[in-house]
Symmetry: C2
Subunit: 223 residues, 2 copies
DNA sequence: GTCTATATTCAGATAGAC
DNA sequence: GTCTATCTGAATATAGAC
């Protein structure tokens, strides 16, 4: 538990804020770089496989110093997952709405693929947590991802009522979009390997976008 | 290194075979149940997260006894991955061929989804290995999965030449089929959670099959 | 906030008796 | 083939000095 010295902690209101501001900012910045590196290593090695020692070493700090900011490995892990889910929602929320299904689906796929391209580690940490049976993040999932999905399903159903799209099982349609787009983060090493290159580039993501978009729009086309 | 005693190891030809047969059969059976349990635990906890102690305990044998059959954790892991890749190919090989694209795609998706339903752990171990950057199974992947993919891509291109299917980037089409179908193994806990149940059942897989098949066939329809 | 030192637990692997 | 005993290394976490 971090405790500021009496000199600052005793002061209240504006004065305290003025003094604490730079301290807090430094702390926030450090916490942020720790989370970024932890995300990378949890993604590659998993919760048990990653070690606080390695993470600290990569950052050039001591393991004990890391434990000063995050009292335990598990809390660091939870924080990483929380950040991922937050940015996920930030990027995806409200994309499926309005009255233009085609534009919505195009944007949705584009946003998800961009997330895969820009934040592959976040997606992988999430995938590993899911495969483990969501032992540490089930409630957060239920509370935050489920409402978002249900809202999207409802929107699709309204579109189907209006005859704008075919009537499919939209839950599984969403699963399929998630799977296809997230795979370009989670399975990137395999895909790159099979394309004969070291890693996926912008063109690969663009080609993926074209194919996946075509699939979804074609499937949604009213009979 | 296992060494049979002199009495049997000295004998050669048919006599030795007759004596060794039951021994070997017992060994093969034991190796098989060890692999099955290891697959389950590697799937759930990952390579580093799974422990030989836990695997042995679940099987009711000692860790040392387990190490008698597999000299190291890594060799056990490699064996598990090898088995997965083998059964994968056994089920999928040659499905994309002939002159009926629609039937081929339907069968391919059906077979992949069946694998996800029947062998989810195998798929998950594979996914974890990929996310780790394929540190222990890259050559095997390259040597065995890549030729299979290239053959399938060539078949699709022949179909496109004949005007039977639209001309897409078939590599990414295959990635998308893999992703959508494997997700019903790898992401099963998440999907089940979002469908409000403990685990996916036959009906879920059937609904997934309908949606995914529709996507792929619609995308492949010539313009 | 950062460091040194240490407690504790647990994992993989080997040796050798039976 | 299976067991007991043991070696070795690594990891999380805590205590306390500065």
């Amino acid at each position: 538990m971090p405790k500021r010295n009496l000199t600052t902690s005793k002061k209240a209101g504006a004065a305290a804020k003025r003094i604490d501001a730079p301290l807090r900012a430094a702390r926030v910045a450090k916490v942020s770089v720790i989370c970024a590196e932890a995300e990378r290593q949890f993604a590659q090695y998993g919760f048990e496989g990653a070690s606080l020692d390695m993470i600290a070493q990569t950052l050039g700090i001591s393991r004990q110093n890391l434990l000063y900011y995050f009292p335990s490995k598990e809390l660091l892990y939870i924080q990483v997952l929380d950040n991922v889910l937050n940015e996920w929602r930030l990027r995806m929320d409200g994309l499926v709405s309005g009255s233009n299904p085609e534009a919505a689906v195009r944007d949705y796929i584009r946003a998800k693929l961009r997330f895969s391209a820009e934040r592959p580690a976040g997606s992988q940490v999430f995938a590993r947590e899911v495969m483990a049976g969501m032992p540490r993040f089930r409630e957060a999932m239920m509370a935050r991802a489920m409402p978002a999905m249900n809202a999207d399903v409802k929107t699709f159903e309204r579109w189907a009522d209006a005859g704008l799209v075919a009537r499919l099982d939209f839950r599984h349609l969403l699963f399929s979009i998630w799977a296809s787009t997230q795979a370009y983060a989670d399975m990137a090493p395999q895909f790159a390997c099979m394309l004969g290159k070291a890693s996926l580039d912008e063109e690969d993501f663009e080609r993926a976008r074209v194919v996946i978009t075509r699939q979804m729009l074609a499937a949604l086309k009213p009979d």
